[in-house]
């Protein structure tokens, strides 16, 4: 902490007072310490507005890699199921948005602030609304627990500095410093998507996901069924990135088994809704 603070003071001095030559001797040290303090605080705390802006940037990157599937009915449907699930999370008030990406790969992504995307490849492999709900609920859990936010806070956000990052997100600044910060933030976002989260965060999202699905009135075994599906599939069938960024599906099922016991039995008869799912998704 000591070292971080010193670093921040130095950084603040350079940023706030780029005064050449002997003028530096007139620096108001009280003001520098205040600036450093606010920088340090802003680095550790990202408010909800900043989180949402960051999430929008993040989702835009994903949408830059693959656009939305051109099926408004499907997009509305996934938003409806997702919004209903999110109402049973600890962050019902976020401006939740869900989307289906035009990609044959099998994957799903959460970003800070409640932007959640699932690939069309995965949508076409699932067989019921309860399975979709399980996957979306897992992603919702990441947002509730701010897993991605914490990951970027430790990396690019701290590196860029909260003030610069916020300024960039506010204005998507074209100024040299803004776009340099933007590039750094962008590569930080990509790094997390390619490296994945901590394993423990994934296990936690699974534990919470089955419960959020059950709370919303679905059969909670949709998510475990999707994990079983992954377990039967060869990696080269579009699961490469998912496998690189998540614990093996059998480990995730093991972890779920250890905590589930009989606790979900009474919800297992809740609807799976395969028919509506098949109809809207267009399964034959």
């Amino acid at each position: 902490m000591q070292r971080t603070l010193v670093g921040l003071i130095a950084a603040a001095a350079v940023l706030a007072f780029p005064i050449p030559g002997n003028a530096q001797f007139n620096i108001d040290f009280g003001r520098i310490v205040d600036t450093a303090r606010s920088l340090a605080q802003a680095t550790t705390e990202i408010d909800e507005k900043q989180e949402v802006q960051l999430g929008q940037e993040w989702a835009a990157v994903l949408l830059g890699a693959a656009p939305l599937a051109a099926d408004p009915n499907l997009q509305r449907y996934v938003n409806t199921v997702g919004r209903w699930l999110a109402s049973h999370s600890e962050r019902p008030g976020l401006g939740w948005r869900f989307g289906v990406l035009e990609s044959d790969n099998l994957n799903a992504f959460a970003t800070p602030g409640g932007y959640i995307l699932v690939t069309k490849g995965l949508v076409l492999r699932m067989r019921s609304e309860a399975e979709l709900a399980g996957v979306l609920a897992h992603e919702i859990a990441h947002v509730v627990q701010k897993h991605h936010l914490k990951a970027i806070q430790k990396g690019a956000w701290a590196k860029v500095g909260a003030n610069v990052a916020t300024e960039y997100l506010n204005q998507r600044s074209r100024s040299p410093v803004g776009s340099a910060a933007g590039q750094q933030l962008l590569s930080g976002i990509k790094e997390i998507m390619l490296r994945g989260l901590d394993k423990e965060d994934e296990f936690e999202a699974d534990r919470m996901g089955v419960v959020i699905a059950a709370r919303a009135g679905y059969d909670p075994f949709g998510l475990p069924m999707v994990l079983q599906l992954f377990n039967t599939m060869p990696q080269d069938s579009g699961l490469e990135l998912l496998f690189q960024t998540h614990p093996p599906p059998s480990d995730r099922l093991d972890a779920l088994e250890r905590v589930t016991g009989t606790k979900l039995d009474r919800y297992a008869a809740q609807p799976q809704v395969p028919d509506r799912y098949a109809q809207i998704v267009g399964l034959k």
Partner: protein, 183 residues
């Protein structure tokens, strides 16, 4: 002609979702029940890694067939696929997941657009026009509630998160019941 009949029968089986059983295995010694309940009669036992065919699911239970018995086991005590994982080649999937197949190769049907591989993410530039579209598809909490009240009805339930361990529970997850039901 014979080949045609076989192909027709196969198409029928796939199309109707009739179980072409999935292979799987027990992850440990597990009791096999006559019905999908804990207190149902035990009809036998599967040894660890014993191969089974999974024929259907009911809630958290799978109906399995092994060489000498048929019955129900908890879904999480079985892994679909084969021990050590199916990581290349044909996956041997059938109708439980109903994956569309093309031709005799058994390759899953794909439409050719891959997307979202490592490289595509690496090279992606933010697309704010698509983000704008995504914003437009948003659904309100009220609309979602109306949907849930339809048919089939999705009845809200109150339940706490599953805890990893008593110690982790306290720090890891939000306080159960703090605000998840405020709609």
């Amino acid at each position: 002609m014979k080949a045609f009949v076989t192909a027709f029968a196969l198409a029928l089986a796939l199309g109707c979702g009739v179980a072409a059983a999935q292979s799987g295995y027990a992850i440990r010694d597990v009791a096999v029940k006559q019905e999908p309940y804990d207190d149902a009669t035990t009809v036998g036992k599967l040894a660890e890694k014993a191969p089974v065919e999974v024929t259907r699911r009911q809630g958290g239970w799978l109906e399995v067939k092994s060489s000498n018995l048929t019955g129900w086991v908890r879904m999480l005590s079985v892994r679909m696929g084969s021990p050590g994982g199916t990581r290349s080649g044909s996956s041997g999937l059938g109708s439980l997941f109903g994956i569309a197949r093309s031709g005799a190769s058994g390759a899953a049907v794909t439409t050719g657009v891959r997307g979202l591989d490592k490289e595509q993410i690496q090279n992606a530039q933010p697309n704010f026009a698509e983000l704008q579209k995504m914003q437009g598809f948003g659904v309100s909490a009220q609309e979602a509630q109306a949907f849930a009240g339809g048919n089939p009805r999705l009845a809200p339930q109150r339940l706490d998160y599953l805890t990893a361990s008593p110690a982790a529970a306290a720090s890891d997850t939000p306080v159960p019941g703090s605000s998840p039901f405020s709609q």
